[in-house]
Amino acid sequence: MTRSADTPTTRALARRLLAYEAAEAGTAKADTQAVCRVCDKLRRPLTTLAGAAGFRSLLARALSLAKQESPLLGAWEVKPDGSLQGLNGEAAQPGAVLIAQLIGLMITFIGESLTLRLLHDVWLDLPDSEVKFERNESK
């Protein structure tokens, strides 16, 4: 199921964030770590806006939506503390689906403008051009 806020543009943004974090991690399991790093970095602003329980709920909802699309997410779970577990095997593609759904939820609630502002604040060292929606992408 593709929700209104889960678009090719959010997918592209999710992939850029994961690629950036994978490069930063630079380990053997860079893809898996990248997913965890993106979620952890989103935890702070989302906890501020929705509380710890709120963040966990949002991540769980994003995972639920992502699982409908990607069978590779079958074993992934959100722990009570809001962290992810069960990330075995291929993580890049399902991770992008999950992060895109999470960003999509943010857009649904607070709109694209504020979501991008929050992402900018989190990934300060990421070039502006990376944290934006590519309007000319094919949909």
């Binding site: 989302l46 806006l49 509380g51 710890a52 709120g54 609630f109 607070i110 403008s113």
Partner: protein
């Protein structure tokens, strides 16, 4: 203490149109305030409007949320308002969630977290939403002192750090007596929603404000796409009564009527035109406005029973061009028919129009339409509201002409069904009379507070040139009853009686 030695309290603009005036100039800087009221009455929006108007990157606003509405949802809804500035988010306006601190560490945890955040951010404004939630978690037997200590420490902390503070809570009025936070607070703003029949009216009251004189009483406010807009009961016009060296007379646009009024209506007067349906009240009002336009006096027509285009079209049927001054900004036609209007909003509309046009003349056509446009809650106070409005507007030199429809009675001549004659300086009464088997129209100047006037009862006609006043009815008595008697008949009866005697 003299002016030089006493501390000067800076006043912050609230960002809410009309509220600074109610507060007595603005919100005292570093004050510790409570915004109270039932759910949905606009507390959070008021706080947001204030922070977006005042917060800067150097001196940001810290918005602490506790348990209730999370910031995520606040942002979702508050960004719909035009005052919301996304560029300020996370730099000038920062949200902090205290729910976990409260759950895990209680009041002490909340105080520690607020201290930490305040010391790190050096905020100029702090909001805790909802503060009632914070206290309710500890408000039970044996904890009174702990709550009181917490409130005291928080107030000291935030004042010491030079922060202007708002504690938001869904308090009920009986809590004012027992809750320690109300004692500590410098300012207490209560927001209400009053339901009367099918309409809802929003009102606010400044129940307490240390250090300055606020305008007492309940003030109407609205929430629109621009946020809150408040309407002071006085609109800042009290005490500004304009004094006239000599009384200038304004033409009514009907020469014979000017003559009857001793030269026209005195500038700054409130004139009431009372009469039954079809007697020409609205036409007289239109002629009054048109005469003002011709004399270089811009005007405003507040109409409730027809739209501006209909109003100017009807005037043109009588050879009065209101369309040109309307297009040129020398005339404004205010059409209000929302059915939940307050007199204060009406006044604000008129005052805004006065500022735009420099109006000297105002027509309210009609008082009955005005009353109907008000929310039921305001109708009960219509006379008192009308008094405030007329006083405030004439105080700034506006000459007001109001029309009032009267039920026609053929046994008496009431001047007004509202008993508002005391509110007006001058009264003209128009009515039908039966003369020789025909319906005729008469008018008379009943009252002129500031001068002599004709006592004549004159007949008049409505023509394509407007109202044309004729001669005095000399050969009739009991004209004001509507069923006059020819003088000749009475004299014949008298003669007959004298003969019998």
């Amino acid at each position: 203490m003299n002016e030089q030695t006493k501390v000067k309290i800076n006043q912050l603009s609230t960002g809410v149109p009309g509220l600074d005036e109610i507060l007595g100039g603005g919100l005292p800087e570093f004050s510790f305030n409570i915004i109270a009221g039932a759910p949905g009455c606009g507390k959070t929006t008021l706080a947001h409007q204030f922070i977006f108007a005042n917060a800067t990157v150097e001196r940001p606003a810290l918005y602490f949320t506790v348990m209730g509405e999370p910031a995520l949802k606040m942002l979702r809804y508050q960004q719909q308002f035009t005052f919301f500035d996304a560029a300020k988010l996370n730099n000038a306006v920062r949200f902090v969630n205290l729910s976990q601190d409260l759950v895990e560490r209680g009041l002490q945890g909340v105080l520690e977290e607020i201290s930490k955040q305040v010391e790190a951010a050096n905020p100029s404004i702090v909001v805790v939403d909802s503060f009632r939630t914070v206290l309710r978690s500890e408000m039970h037997e044996g904890k009174d002192l702990a709550v009181q200590t917490f409130v005291q420490q928080l107030a000291l902390l935030l004042t010491s750090w030079e922060a202007t503070t708002f504690l938001i809570g869904e308090y009920s009025e009986p809590e004012v007596r027992d809750n320690p936070v109300f004692t500590v607070a410098d300012g207490l703003f209560w927001l209400f929603q009053q339901v009367d029949r099918n309409s809802v009216v929003r009102k606010m009251q400044v129940m307490k404000l240390r250090g300055q004189a606020s305008v007492p009483g309940l003030h109407t406010f609205r929430i629109t796409a621009a946020g809150l807009q408040a309407f002071s009961r006085t609109l800042g016009l009290l005490g500004q009564r304009k004094t006239f060296g000599s009384v200038k007379r304004l033409s009514m646009g009907i020469p014979a009527l000017d003559e009857m009024m001793g030269g026209g209506v005195p500038e700054g007067d409130s004139l009431l035109i009372a009469g039954s349906s079809g007697t020409g009240k609205s036409l007289m009002a239109t002629q009054f406005l048109a005469a003002g336009i011709r004399a270089g006096e811009p005007g405003i027509a507040a109409v409730f029973e027809e739209r501006p285009s209909e109003y100017t079209a009807r005037a043109s049927e009588f050879g009065l061009d209101l369309q040109t001054p309307l297009a040129e900004g020398r005339l404004e036609v205010i059409y209000l028919r929302p059915l939940d209007l307050s007199v204060d909003e009406m006044m604000q509309e008129i005052l805004d129009a006065v500022k735009r046009t420099g109006a000297k003349r105002l027509v309210i056509d009609s008082l009955a339409g005005f009353e109907m446009a008000l929310a039921p809650a305001f109708r009960a106070d219509f006379r008192e509201s009308l008094y405030r409005m007329i006083f405030a507007l004439t105080a700034i030199g506006i000459t007001i002409l109001s029309t009032l429809e009267m039920p026609e009675t053929f046994t008496e001549l009431p001047f007004s069904s509202y008993s508002i004659s005391f509110l007006t300086d001058d009264i003209i009464r128009m009515r039908y009379v039966e003369i020789d088997g025909q319906l005729s129209q008469i008018m008379m100047v009943v009252k002129m507070r500031r001068g002599a006037h004709s006592r004549d009862i004159r007949q008049y006609q409505i023509t394509t040139d407007g109202i044309v006043i004729g001669e005095r009815f000399k050969n009739y008595v009991d004209l004001i009853t509507g069923i006059p008697q020819p003088l000749s008949v009475l004299r014949a009866e008298e003669t007959l009686l004298n003969r019998k005697a």
